[in-house]
């Protein structure tokens, strides 16, 4: 099934750099992948793990540096090309077609054919069964994938990869949706594949998995390679320190504001996972935010941080439970309109392109969208009033653009974010929720946004910021709480801010 001497480097990334608009995602990264080993790759969100894996598996084809496979230089044209060279990736979001059978999924796009060119169902079933059995999974390959549990679907993904010769199998947080027993089964499987000489690249956030599974641990940080070590030579503490350690940059400095009375109080907020009874996206969360306070929420991907903000904003009104008070008065928020109008809440969403902006509308129309009432003249929209208002915010937040009638899709990320912020400032909120407010924008715009947040807090607004960037969350927050697998797992006041302790509190399995 696999080739390569154990312990030899089967694949190597040399000085790989990848530039995205405004961000250097990878900076001359080296990465060695050893045959017959579980090569763990760790790093904070945004450290560059996914980008690197996307390059290894042929998703991104434009980058600097070179890839060597078995000592030969390779450049993949696409994922199919990478797969036929023996590199397969199993994404966190499984890529199966739900209404096709296990066998059909495994051979999708490469169905065996009979002599007259029809699908050879029998051969496909037999071959699929052989592979599936080898993985210790006794299933009827004619079943639809949609009838399988997530853990079983994961095995089908692996089986699908194994229908071709695999030399390197990349797995991106494969256990994030698995139960404990499914996880142990998967680990057994990974071990046996490695024992047969296959190289496994294993991306994870879970520290306990490193101890259980990894042979080598490579740490990435801010797009740079930090260290590679044999797993039995490093402690988890050392790894955590390597993940966060960074130079202190010259950075925005927060001012002190006297904390006011409680603005928002959440009690026992829970949100069940859709379709999975007994599992929760948010589990019994209680906290409060004061006037003039910036509360930072730190959590890894999947910790429920976005869901928490969405719930406060009324997006899960039909399924969530718990109590919410604004200025110590119990409120019921049935949707975004309620959250805005009745509670004075604004939400700056994480993904500005898909959730924050109408891309084909101009700046002025985007800014006025949440408060069209303010641009009415005799009950009708006044484009002139709309424009005056937009121009005021363009100047106040220095949105770089030639006209308020410019389409927002042509603005840079930082300026787009300022448009979203303007839209919400115009609603005159009392409480502002910001989800990753500076993702993908340059350092100057970041500092401008930090200063804006600081100003708003000094004017008495209560602010909640979700961020997975330590320098950011530690600079702007008065207090930080950590979320881990849907629960509040720690709370830190400003004098307790320390990256390692906060990260520890946010890591599962600790």
């Amino acid at each position: 099934m696999t080739t390569g001497r154990p312990n030899a480097v089967i694949m190597e990334a040399r000085e790989i750099s990848k530039q995205f608009p405004g961000v250097l995602a990878l900076n001359k990264v080296n990465f060695n992948i050893y045959a017959g080993k579980v090569n763990a790759l760790v790093g904070e969100n945004g450290a560059g793990k996914s980008t690197l894996m996307n390059i290894l598996s042929g998703v991104y084809t434009e980058y600097e540096g070179e890839l060597l496979l078995g000592g030969q230089k390779v450049a993949f044209r696409d994922t199919t090309d990478a797969r036929s060279a023996g590199i397969s990736m199993i994404h966190q979001e499984l890529q199966l077609v739900p209404y096709l059978s296990i066998a059909e999924n495994m051979f999708l796009g490469r169905e065996p054919l009979t002599r007259v060119g029809l699908i050879d169902e029998k051969k496909m079933r037999q071959d699929a069964t052989v592979v599936i059995r080898k993985l210790g999974y006794d299933a009827d390959v004619r079943q639809n994938v949609s009838s399988l549990r997530v853990g079983q679907q994961q095995i089908v993904e692996i089986a699908k990869a194994l229908t071709l010769e695999v030399r390197v199998l990349i797995m991106d947080e494969p256990t994030s949706a698995l139960s404990a027993s499914e996880t142990s089964f998967l680990f057994g499987l990974i071990r046996s594949l490695a024992a047969q000489g296959m190289a496994i690249v294993y991306i994870t956030h879970k520290m306990d998995e490193l101890a259980r599974l990894a042979d080598t641990v490579t740490v990435l940080r801010d797009g740079c390679h930090v260290s590679e070590s044999a797993a039995n030579n490093v402690t988890l503490d050392q790894i955590v320190r390597l993940m966060v350690g960074r130079d202190v940059r010259d950075f925005f400095v927060k001012r002190d504001h006297a904390k006011g009375p409680v603005k928002l109080r959440a009690e026992g907020i829970s949100l069940p996972k859709p379709g999975q009874s007994g599992r929760f996206l948010l589990n019994d969360i209680s906290f409060c935010v004061h006037a003039s306070e910036v509360l930072g929420i730190y959590g890894l991907m999947g910790s429920g941080r976005t869901e928490l903000l969405e719930t406060l904003f009324g997006l899960h009104a039909s399924t969530c439970t718990g109590k919410l008070s604004i200025e110590e008065t119990l409120v019921s928020i049935l949707g975004p309109a309620d959250a805005m109008n009745a509670a004075g809440i604004a939400l700056i969403p994480e993904d500005r392109k898909s959730d924050g902006l109408i891309l084909n509308m101009d700046i002025a129309k985007n800014i006025s969208l949440a408060s069209l009432g303010s641009v009415l003249k005799a009950g009708l929209l006044s484009e002139q009033r709309e424009q005056v208002q937009a121009d005021a915010y363009r100047e106040k937040l220095s949105i770089k653009s030639y006209s308020s009638r410019q389409e927002v899709k042509k603005l840079s990320g930082g300026n787009q974010q300022k448009v979203v912020l303007s839209k919400w400032l115009l609603t005159h909120p009392r409480i502002m929720l910001l989800d990753e407010p500076t993702r993908g924008i340059d350092i100057n715009a970041k500092n401008e946004i930090y200063r804006l947040i600081d100003d708003l807090a000094s004017q008495g607004m209560a602010i909640i910021v979700v961020s997975s960037e330590f320098p950011e969350i530690m600079a702007i927050s008065d207090r930080i709480v950590t979320l881990c697998e849907g629960r509040l797992s720690g709370e830190f006041s400003r004098d307790e801010f320390k990256e390692e302790t906060i990260l520890r509190a946010a890591l599962p399995g600790n």
């Binding site: 904003f313 997006l315 975004p336 309109a337 959250a339 805005m340 109008n341 939400l347 969403p349 898909s354 959730d355 924050g356 902006l357 109408i358 891309l359 084909n360 509308m361 101009d362 129309k365 969208l369 949440a370 069209l372 009432g373 009415l376 009708l380 929209l381 006209s403 009638r405 410019q406 899709k409 839209k423």
Partner: protein, 321 residues
Amino acid sequence: MERPKVDIAILQPLVALTLMMLAMTILSENFATQDNLFNVARQISVNLCISIGMTMVILTGGIDLSVGSILAFTGAIAAGLLKNGIEWEGANLYIGFTILGATVAALASGALMGWFNGWMITRFKVPPFVATLGMLTIARGATMLYTKGFPITQLGDNFNYLGTGWFLGMPMPVWISLAVIAISAFFMRKTRTGRHIYAIGGNERAALLSGVDVKRVKVFVYTIAGVLSGVAGLLVTARLDSAQPNAGLGYELDSIAAVVIGGTSLSGGNGSIMGTVIGAVIIGVLNNGLVLMNVSPFWQQVIKGSVILLAVIIDRSQRKD
């Protein structure tokens, strides 16, 4: 300052229309006569009313296939109520209808059917294509039930004035469609709901997160589409002095074509009422011109279909993203 985008977007269909009319004038001596132009205008007015409702629906990212059937149903209701009223023998009850009463009832029935489309789409998350496909069949069946499959005729000159009459030197249907155009163009530009329609089509989730009541707006556009199909139903019925159970067959396709030729994106968020008006005129002029030039009806269809494809290809190639 940048010129408003709408003007640029409809420039292209406008140029196409002008060229086409020039060609028709040269190729057929009967085209550019006053009689013929009024005739064309009257024919177009029916498709115009439907297409404007369709534009609003498509701008939200939806589609309405039921407009032709709703047209037939509303026409039958107007004609039936006007002629026979409501008779209920068991209770010895008879309600007669004036022209105004029958008209209002017909429009209300169109509104109800449109509302039902919107309700299906927002409450039960039925895709618009399917929901309105269902209504296409239901409304046609309801028309057959109500008329028992026979036309309802002889509706009186006063009612027929709506379709055949003249007012200040222009046919009535033209006045009515001009009013519909003016009101809806104003509505789309100047009211909050109009803006919300664009926002939903541009990015439904962002609109929702900005406090737009997405469901209410969607129900509204389907209801308006139903009402405007009702207006078209009245025009057709009054013009023919007859409510035909088969009226409006296939009209949904002509109106979608008008919207698309007018530069409105089928994925929503981008387009204008004025674009659709030009699109409807292009189709009307094309129909008329081909008849005048004695082109065989079979070829007419091939040509019409090709024009639609050409319009979309040109539109696509100019939009870079």
